[in-house]
Amino acid sequence: TTHIESIREQPPRSEEEARRLWSHYDDMTRNLSISLTEQLRLILAPTLATKMRGDFRTGKRLNMKRIIPYIASQYKRDKIWMRRSIPSKRNYQIMLAVDDSKSMGESGSGQLAFETLALVANSLTMLEAGEISVVGFGNEVKVAHDFGRPFTNEAGAQIVQHFTFQQTGTNVRELVAQSIMLFREARSKNINAGTDLWQLELIISDGLCEDHDSIRRLVRQAQEERIMIVFVIIDALVKGQSIMNMSQAMFDSDGGGVRIERYLDGFPFQYYLIVGDVRELPGVLAQALRQWFSEVVESG
């Protein structure tokens, strides 16, 4: 067996160490990656978006909503048929944002974050679905891998070098604000102009963040720009400290009374999932994405 020292003891790591770590996580998650790829292939396949759409003079199926106007117009408004629309070619820009703050190292979530990163990045690469970018966040946001660059093992090792889980703050608000900017830039540079571009961000973090109101506003703004954010909470491996048991104390402004709420009840992300074991990830992630894609297809 390979011995991988605890991540938190690592100062900025050497190239060699980073390569060794990446290949370790790569090996560990290989089978899971294949399983996730297969599930995502079904979800992302553009044929799923095929719908019957109106309004044509000839077609495959009658559009019932057009029948009454058709009769009322004395059979003049005769575009009453629907055809199977040709699925538009979609491409994706997917950003993986990994929490590099100290709380990740403290709880041992760092390892699980690397496993998640390897798993997701490798399956997306296998899918050839589009461009991948990786950013790290803590006190500040750093791009570890740009959109447009191919995701190779070498790239994986370089990404690992960026993460030490030592940052002394977790500024999720800044992450979301910066992500919106990065997505705008990537959208403008997108080589497949004219195709349907879908932008998705997966935040991989222990879920501990503050300033929920500002974050909620930014998440809404991202949504308006058709950027989907899914928050993958890597749950603490430390006994009794699961995020599901965590509460939050809120004081009245006069200091008189206090309310104690479940932390997750005020969590600012609409789409989040909690994972305690990387083996659960392909299943839950696929389920979350399936739900999102179907919502987007319907609203589009």
Binding site: S101, K102, S103, E106, Q167, T168, G169, T170, R173, A177, Q178, I180, M181, R184, S188, L208, E210, D211, D213, S214, R217, L218, Q221, G240, Q241, S242, N245, M246, S247, Q248, A249, F251, G255, G256, G257, V258, I260, Y263
Partner: protein, 114 residues
Amino acid sequence: MSDQTLSNSAGDTGDSASTSQVRIQLSTRHPDIALPENPGPILVNTNLRRYALSTLVNALLQSEKPIPFEFLINGTFLRTTLDQYLTANGISAEITLNVEYVRAIIPPVYLASF
């Protein structure tokens, strides 16, 4: 790119004075004031002082008559805000802070108002 996209800065969230937060794990060595069930980590604002923490423990104990408490972190009594404590001791708010509470022995000090 439309004009709106250009003028609409995502970074602009207003300068809300956001207070930072820290997780605390409360415990006591005295069974008579122990919490009925371990509440797990609680996220609190770092601008809290002894008095607010005392309010919190009383709320968790659901005590009818509030008991004044004192708080110990790493063996020293908390005399400042949590934030000042963290800064003075070089501790980041990224860790869970173990906070022990005891009954306040000395009655709260009142500063004479002039």
